[in-house]
């Protein structure tokens, strides 16, 4: 499973497909203050990205992949709209 749901942290790894979006959204809404770990994330579907952007869970581990960090980083780290 690309997303492992723990008690307080959902770990996204590999490529997260569109199907994951609903479950992730449900988990985030159920776990107030629940964080995400995207260290091993390679790619995520736009829908999953939207969940992260809309809910802005605290990010406990930033993407290790430099390429992913480049575009995903600003969307996670900053609670506001990313700026350049």
């Amino acid at each position: 499973m690309p997303i492992q749901y723990g008690d307080a942290v959902a770990t996204l790894s590999g490529a997260c497909a569109v199907e994951e979006a609903e479950a992730l959204l449900a988990w985030l809404d159920d776990h107030d203050g629940g964080g995400v770990d995207v260290q091993d994330l390679a790619h995520l579907h736009c829908a999953v990205l939207q969940v992260l952007m809309a809910r802005r869970p605290p990010c406990v581990g930033g993407p290790r992949d430099a390429e992913v960090a480049l575009w995903l980083g600003p969307l996670l780290a900053d609670p506001g709209i990313p700026s350049h």
Binding site: V18, Q50, M53, L70, G73
Partner: protein
């Protein structure tokens, strides 16, 4: 002229060339997508560059041409002869305007009118097919101004395209992943993802409705990007991103920094009352173009904003931080400016490409060539020194040592000379390519179908030689099209394909370049040539009768010869083959004509690869030294005075069963004759009128010399073509063989 403008003019010229090439290519192969794309890209790039400078007429025309090309690209319009004419005309005008900008920094006064007419003509073609609407109603127009979301150019440091991609809300249901599409954009240098609208209340949020807009910058070509976004093209808007800091020369940056620093410094002094407004305006007027020119166009807006604040406060102080920050941004190379954003190394596309080619002004190379030439001459002084060491100082060992040194220097000089000549070598393709256009125009004018074939275009020769070749070639090509190749009807009647072929071939033969202009036309009617030459009094009937075929063909090179009764406006009246021949000879070349009646004619030009240093055979005549280009020397012989035969008034000798007419140089130069019984030293030289034996006092060795053309004072002595100075300071005159026949 600013560096930027000079750079633009240089680039634009190249782009015009490649556009013209692509256009002509398209005419023969209309389906050539690559050529069409090349054409579009070239014109598009010119337009983009021109917009930066004050040349609205040029920008306008190029813009219209680009729109037209876009329709060709989408297949809504077919490339017709008229459109090609129109586009070629556009390119011609663009070149003219570029010349104007290069020469006087402004366009000629009538440019505006020309541009308006041409733009109208181009636009007129457009609606013919596309009158159902705009070019494509589904496609959103390009963003006109650079979008405000564009990152600081220093960040992406790219010239390319900014794209705003707004996927449809329900796109996920079609199986699309817009993020993947955005991430896989070729040569992407920057990407930002933002929500289109607020995410809304927690309960109403639907992750499966796409609420994102992707903004990115790529350095890839427009068509590559268009292809990438093919299926969502209607959701994308493009905007060109100008070349940014990465390509701006260092000295320009330094100059801009200096200006900004000076402005900041000047602001420390308070304004005199009443001068504040003027000072503010002049600061803006100065700084804004500097910022734009240095690739910091993004700073203009903050600066203007700061200026407004300053105006309200009546104080220049708000400008200082902006100017300081802009100066700092100039300092930061694009890579450094981008670094704080992430740990990711600079995108590869941003790094300036390493190149193994440098552009050097021709004058530097010429200077180098000249110095090498002088070195060659200076080197030639050593053999004289060697001789003096032996003859005057009686030291044979000294002479030997000098000789050893001479040989070492000689080797280096020869290598140096070779290396410098290599720099000046350019492929003849530069000249050949121009003929695509000429032949096309000639063909249309003459109603003939002519195909140009080019062979050996990678053959290289000295830049000057290649350039001097252009003019004679134009005449020869015109002659071949005009007189050589027949009309389609005539060709059909003769059982040949309707389309005539003209071949331009270049090849290197030893250290010479041989250019051939071959046509498969009617060929040269040698009988008619003979008759015409006799009729015009160029040759006697008896002499004409015994001429070989090759010699007869050469008759057309004589001044005043022209076989076609009505002179067409194409080949022109003044440029007969004799003029062409003179031009070729002047460049140190020779010209040969051969033909087979009904099958075509070939003119071949043989030129030295490089003309700076020439080898001559030296001869003595009454104490003077004269030179004959070694290429023209057939033999040097000594014969007893009794070997001379007299044929009418002419003296001849028999050499290998051939009669060689003699020219006694002492007689030609009006000097006292040598004793009649003395053996004759005869230099047999090849000339256009056949071989000739020059009777000289004595032969000398060969020498490498730089032949300087005669200046005006000496110009009237028709027996000489140039002078050269020898190592010992002697001046050598080179003989004009054509006049000695």
């Amino acid at each position: 002229m600013s560096d930027l403008l000079a750079q633009f003019i240089d680039e634009a010229r190249e782009l015009v060339d490649s556009a013209a090439k692509a256009l002509l290519q398209l005419e023969t192969t209309p389906d050539d997508r690559a050529a069409l794309n090349d054409l579009f890209r070239s014109v598009h790039t010119i337009k983009g560059g021109a917009g930066i400078f004050e040349m609205a007429p040029l920008t306008r025309v190029v813009h219209a041409a680009e729109d037209l090309l876009d329709l060709l690209r989408t297949g809504e319009l077919d490339l017709t002869g008229e459109i090609t004419d129109l586009l070629l005309e556009t390119l011609d005008d663009v070149v003219g305007w570029l010349d104007d900008m290069a020469a006087q920094g402004a366009l000629r006064p009538e440019a505006d009118a020309t541009s308006a007419a041409l733009t109208a003509a181009l636009r007129q073609v457009i609606p013919l097919r596309a009158d159902e609407g705009d070019d494509d109603p589904d496609l959103p127009p390009d963003l006109t101004a650079p979008p405000e979301w564009l990152p600081d150019p220093a960040v992406c440091g790219a010239q390319g395209w900014a794209i705003e991609f707004r996927p449809e809300p329900d796109c996920f249901f079609g199986g699309d992943d817009p993020l993947l599409l955005a991430l896989s954009v070729p040569d992407r240098v920057w990407l930002a993802i933002e929500p289109v609208a607020d995410w809304g209340a927690q309960a109403t949020f639907d992750p499966f409705r796409c609420n994102l807009v992707f903004r990115l910058v790529s350095t890839a070509a427009r068509e590559v990007l268009e292809d990438h976004f093919l299926y969502v093209r209607s959701l994308c808007r493009f905007a060109p991103v100008a070349r940014a800091a990465a390509r701006i020369p260092d000295d320009l940056i330094a100059a801009a920094q200096e200006i900004l620093a000076a402005q900041v410094e000047a602001m420390a002094t308070p304004s005199a009352p009443g001068l504040f407004e003027a000072r503010l305006d002049s600061t803006l007027a100065l700084v804004c173009p500097v910022l734009t020119g240095a690739g910091l166009g993004a700073w203009v807006a903050p600066l203007t904003a700061a200026a407004d604040t300053a105006r309200q406060q009546g104080d220049l102080a708000p400008l200082v931080p902006v100017l300081t920050a802009a100066a700092a941004a100039l300092d930061a190379p694009p890579a450094a400016a981008a670094a704080p954003r992430s740990a990711k190394p600079e995108p590869i596309a941003v790094q300036p490409k390493k190149t193994n080619v440098i552009k050097v002004e021709l004058e530097h190379v010429d200077q180098l060539m000249k110095l090498v030439g002088e070195l060659v001459v200076a080197k030639n002084a050593l053999p004289f020194l060697m001789k003096r060491a032996e003859d005057v100082y009686g030291s044979r060992s000294m002479a030997r040592e000098v000789k050893a040194e001479y040989e070492a220097i000689n080797r280096i000089v020869e290598e140096l000379q070779g290396a410098v000549m290599q720099i000046r070598m350019v492929p003849v393709s530069g000249v050949f390519q121009r003929f695509q256009r000429l032949i096309r125009d000639l063909g249309r004018k003459l109603d003939k179908q002519i195909e140009l074939k080019i062979e050996g275009e990678e053959t290289r020769a000295d830049k000057n030689i290649v350039e001097e070749l252009a003019e004679p070639l134009v005449h020869l090509v015109r002659n071949a099209c005009d007189h050589g190749i027949e009309t389609p009807a005539e060709r059909r009647a003769a059982g040949k394909p309707e389309q005539g072929t003209l071949t331009l071939a270049a090849a290197q033969v030893d250290d010479r370049v041989v250019i051939e202009i071959r046509d498969d036309g009617r060929g040269i009617d040698l009988d008619r040539v003979r008759a015409k030459a006799v009729e015009k009094g160029l040759i006697s009937a008896e002499a004409a009768a015994v001429l070989s075929e090759a010699e007869t063909a050469r008759l057309i090179l004589l001044p005043g010869f022209s076989t076609v009764e009505q002179i067409s406006d194409l080949s022109g009246r003044g440029v007969g083959m004799d003029v062409v021949n003179t031009m070729v000879t002047r460049s140190g070349g020779t010209l040969a004509v051969s033909s087979r009646l009904g099958q075509g004619a070939t003119v071949s030009i043989s030129l030295p690869q490089s003309m700076a240093v020439r080898q001559v055979m030296m001869v003595d005549v009454d104490g003077g030294v004269y030179g004959v280009a070694i290429d023209n020397v057939v033999a040097t012989i000594r014969l007893p005075a009794t070997a001379v035969h007299r044929l009418k008034a002419e003296e001849t000798v028999v050499l290998r069963n051939r009669l060689i007419p003699l020219r006694r140089l002492r007689r030609v130069f009006d000097l006292d004759p040598l004793p009649a019984d003395r053996d004759l030293a005869i230099l047999v030289a090849r000339t256009q009128g056949g071989e000739v034996g020059l009777v000289v006092d004595d032969f000398r060795s060969e020498a490498d010399v730089i032949i300087e053309p005669l200046d005006e004072a000496l110009n009237r002595y028709r027996y000489f073509t140039g002078t050269a100075s020898l190592g010992d300071g002697t001046i050598l005159l080179t003989l004009n063989l054509a006049e000695l026949v």
